[in-house]
Symmetry: C3
């Protein structure tokens, strides 16, 4: 995601986007260059913290579950994503398991450490979760104002007995809210000016799409990206938005948000929700499902590497990398946003919807915590003085993920780093020293020397398995070299992924009929 490059490359792109898209405004801003809004002028616009946490919670709701999972028998309970934040840092990413709600998962996993945490839910949690979270002392509960965990949508057509259970639950939730210490409410914020377009451009320009383009010179990646994005918007809207306005109003009234039912607050809320869903759709489209996946960097792994743990499924790798890409939109770097997420695989399946995986840490590249805006050098393209360059002051995404980790890295477990850029030479020894066992990334920069920053050590790194975003290696080397999960990566794809792949196939004709340049594609 090289902002400047991406913007330049897609400069003449004039997407006819969804109605909410502010791309033309954004380009005006960049060209005029007169705005004093620092977020736009200094570098690309940023996600606010609250929106980042909200987006991560929505995305966690879609965490790929294992096949064997028993579906929750209560059809009125909806799976929920949850982000646990302490001291402004993400310390937990969870989702509903087959037996436990996301809020209960958090209580079981964090216990008394939940005290003074802030929680971001992808749905209003049920009263049972709420009472336990209030009891354990969380300081704030934010939730996405769609259909709540105890669904008020599903039972509408007839099945009233259980729907009434949901109504009783909503009433109890309100009583708990009114008596509780933590603030319970909605934290959705408006997007920064131009962010929607910026995310679209940088997603399309990111290393993952670029790699696909390089591997298949004939591939129209812009078209592929836009169709993936549209597909995502459709899926995510069904999941997270309540399309009929009156139905949405009814639900808001039942979950204690009657103040949002009036105009202009209602339209405002819906616009903000739509905007965030579209941002998520763009980011999730940056690793399109086609022939690419995360495969071993080296066709002939060493003996010791072969004996290392198998990687996660393609789906999970893609999901975690998109978490990292979301984090990158909080960057403070003037040029390149990078995100990193570290997950570890515990010894036994927990109660979490993430199965045996648990979060170890995450971060993005930024100036040292506590820095004021502009305190440190921020290189632009004309800056020649080596003393004034940013490189000596920026904390890399991997460094932040390791510094503010929320759990220990255990030698006996498989700990995995997902990062949106190839790790540089400054980070390689830290990653290795910390005991990371696997890296999932793109190696587009590997081997390059960019002056103040070099990527010369990644290729030679030993003792850490490297899974690189690349074309399926099935044709490149014997399948027995690939880890069992990864070998059948495409085989374990989920239904909606397969659909989108079919979608890609079916639309090949349509695409080839479309002009390639200067044409609205999104």
């Amino acid at each position: 995601m090289e902002t400047a490059d991406a913007v330049k490359k897609n400069h003449d792109l004039n997407p006819s986007c969804a109605t909410s898209c502010k791309c033309s405004e954004y380009r005006d801003i960049k060209e005029a260059g007169t705005l004093t809004n620092t977020e736009v002028l200094g570098h690309g616009p940023r996600l606010s913290k609250a929106n980042l946490f909200t987006l991560l919670s929505l995305w966690m709701e879609l965490f790929p579950r294992e096949e064997k999972e028993v579906v929750n028998k209560n059809v009125f309970t909806r799976g929920t994503g949850l982000v646990v934040v302490r001291d402004q840092k993400v310390v937990g990413l969870h989702c509903s398991g087959s037996e436990l709600h996301a809020g209960q998962v958090a209580v079981i996993r964090h216990g008394p450490k939940l005290a003074s945490s802030e929680l971001y839910f992808s749905r209003k949690p049920c009263a049972t979760c709420l009472k336990m979270l209030i009891n354990v002392g969380v300081s704030r509960i934010s939730f996405w104002p769609g259909d709540p965990e105890m669904s008020l949508s599903v039972g509408v057509n007839g099945m009233d007995s259980i729907s009434q259970e949901a109504v009783l639950d909503a009433i109890a939730s309100e009583k708990l809210k009114s008596n509780s210490r933590p603030h319970i409410g909605v934290a959705v914020q408006p997007l920064a000016l131009g962010l929607q377009q910026f995310v679209m451009e940088t997603s399309l320009g990111c290393d993952f799409v670029e790699r696909m383009s390089g591997d298949n010179p004939g591939l129209d990646t812009r078209d592929l990206f836009c169709r993936q994005r549209r597909q995502n918007i459709s899926t995510f809207s069904q999941e997270f938005l309540i399309l009929p306005e009156q139905h949405h109003r009814d639900i808001l009234a039942k979950i204690g948000l009657e103040n949002f039912c009036m105009e202009p607050y209602f339209s405002n809320l819906r616009q903000k929700m739509t905007d965030l869903v579209e941002v998520l759709a763009s980011v999730a489209a940056s690793l399109p499902v086609l022939q690419h996946g995360f495969y071993w960097k080296d066709s002939q792994p060493t003996a010791s590497e072969s004996s290392q743990p198998p990687g996660v499924s393609q789906e999970t790798a893609r999901h975690c990398t998109i978490q990292a890409r979301l984090l990158a939109y909080r960057t403070e770097d003037p040029k390149i946003g990078v995100g990193a997420v570290i997950w570890a695989e515990g010894k036994s399946a927990g109660c979490d919807g993430t199965g045996r995986l648990y979060l170890v840490g995450c971060g993005y590249n930024a100036y040292p915590v506590g820095s004021e805006y502009g305190e440190y050098p921020q290189m632009d393209t004309k800056q020649e003085d080596r003393q004034r360059r940013k490189y000596r002051y920026i904390i890399h995404a991997e460094q932040n993920a390791l510094s503010f980790r929320c759990d220990e890295i255990r030698q006996e477990e498989n700990t995995m780093l997902f990062v949106t850029k190839c790790p540089c030479d400054e980070c390689i020894p830290l990653i290795q020293g910390a005991g990371i066992k696997q890296i999932y990334t793109t190696d587009l920069d590997s081997g390059k020397d960019k002056g103040d920053i070099t990527y010369l050590r990644f290729n030679g790194l030993r003792g850490v398995q490297k899974f690189i975003w690349q074309k399926s290696t099935l044709t490149r080397f014997a399948s027995e070299h690939a880890g069992p999960h990864l070998a059948n990566g495409s085989g374990s794809m989920r239904k909606h992924d397969r659909q989108s792949e079919q979608d890609v196939q079916c639309n090949k004709r349509a695409r080839s009929a479309m002009p390639e340049d200067h044409t609205p594609v999104c």
Copy 2:
């Protein structure tokens, strides 16, 4: 322990109790119903926190030790129980080991985490423990004002040399106390009005006694309970009280409590001490030692269950369950008090008198932490409106034990839950998800649907061993199915338990001669 039921069932009981018993007063209160004392009016009277911690410390002194333990050579050092409290939560239950005093055990086990903790000792700790606890920064040390850890009783008859050691220790303790930051003193509080009688009734009416009654229709459980209680009073008084008044005064003077030697403070102190000993005697009598114990729920355990770790001894299971019953007397539930304790078995014997066992958490059922009195619905029998029922607001004992756990639950260790009621359907997935390996409980409610609360999932719970308070199963299924410890549960009983069993046998004649109803039994 269903308060209302128990009270009704034992309504016509007119026990001629120990001198301190306030049972007649208590019944007057319940019948008149005019008192404004909320603790009595809203629901049964409660134990104060200080008294709960004090009772737990006394009970920890009696923790069953393993046979192989080498008796401490210093006959002047008495075994001591210790409760570690942080932020008003129990975070450690300890007792003297064969080599270390309880205070030293706490330093070794908790280290710097002891800072700002409150400690409740069953005896005044020795100067060596005191200096280490002051050094590590505890905020308060409370002790039971009986014979101190460095006994001032044992050496009275002749062996003056070591007794002088105890005197020197007492002097050093005073010097440490006067210079130290933590407050060091006695925290025994008066019982709430009617609590003594309430504990007696609810102990006699608890599920454990009821199960015995159900299993043996001819058994006079009231008589059994009362004799067990009297036996306990006799044993505990010898352990915890100093019967000759002058001797008690001498000891108080020597351990820096000379202010307690004067009237009316002296009599007051002794009365409060006697009251607490009697409460402990009642609670400990609620799992009478006869033919019942904790045995596998299913006569034909599955293969995977057979390979699970063996349970603890009958003695230990009974001891931990009584800890849970003590905790239940802090309930805020208007109807049913429930207590839960979680212990885990470490890989190697520690220095603690509890051997390989260490506390993971404990709790009782209550409204969310921070609730004010009456803030949430409190169902009475007439309440019909489902919106107003307590069930959506009460945090169950198991939930509190898990939420405020003081240690992690490790998958590779055997973690055990002791709980005074069958876990309900809301708690079952939490217990399983948290990684509990064994449950010790009563299944009296198992399979029942009580409207707002159901117990339908306990029977079907798989992957967790269930040990149920029931008649010895030796006659019911082949002994090789029982875990080694539990198979010979009665065989490993301690001397004083065997004595009380003999006592029960010997008194069968006496009991059968006694009228069964409306007769003073305690």
Copy 3:
């Protein structure tokens, strides 16, 4: 290190020391006895905390590395020692590894727990370390004002390109310093009056030297000690001081310490640095490298002991024991200073220069934390009243190391205690109960009953391996009984140790020519 005895024994010693030595002043003070300076009057002078941490950081720079270590390719980066302090307690001892700087090691090992810590570096850390430490929220960074980690000395002769890298690094460091929250600076303090001489006398009089003297009645230990000390001064000066004044000034100016370049501050700084280097030289000379080392106490270890983990190398054991000896100079005990350090051996080599070893805790003997001066009895030789003796109030070094440990003691790992005196009977059960697997110490007091303190249990202690400072046991029992590391202890000695041994051999002639008493030896 028995202060009183040592002072008496060496009373007639009139060492003509290095120019900075204040030995004559010190003896005047002791004899006159008129000073009111409590540090000198009450007991021996003490190291300030800042100086203790500084000395430990210098000493950590010299931590013996494993042979296989790859030398850092960047010849301009100098190995650095680091002490992490939280709440005035040492919680980490680190040094540069083959891949990571000491500051990075601390970030990887402590993560977010570094927040609010104070760091003491043996060199000014590089900008990359600095940015990460500032980012993670440390509260203070102190460094030794010699050649910085990115050396400004090495490149002087010609290799300007990389030397310029060091200059850029120094500039970046200054920018980081000026913007950062933590205070970054120099914390070297002047020595307490008489401390230099006190350290020399007590090092020469310590148990380790005394044991050598006892084992070799003909050995001139004073001469041996003084030559070892001179050897150390020479080695350490080369490592830690910048001898040419102008060069030192240049470096100070480049690392942002231009205020120190002016007089009298410059001379003052250099004097303080020289003083500390000499203190370190004295302490490090107290375990002279000759025929003595740490060998198994019992010539015939039990079968279970033979199966225990091997010990660390002689070099490492000596290094850690000298850490303990440095700690002893913070004692509050009026008579005997004792230091203790606990290290554990993790399962896999970390990124730390200490390899698999990590600090668990350390301490020295002192009155309870928070005590005011003179609050507790402080025995002098005339004190007869047993009530007034210090023994009941002093927290032993081992007790402090265990109480304020910075990591858990894991049963599956080898945890080692290094202590400068034989553990007494009060500490033995604590050491065993805590799960210590090995003790490295001197057993000079073992078996003794000194009235208020006894050492009767050390010999009988089972289940803990005891490595005692004694003559090489190669001649005393079969080598297969010794652990592999320890058997070849002398074989794995480092180059400069071998040199000093040769030095000793070569100077035998010189020594025998020297008068034995009343002669300047240092």
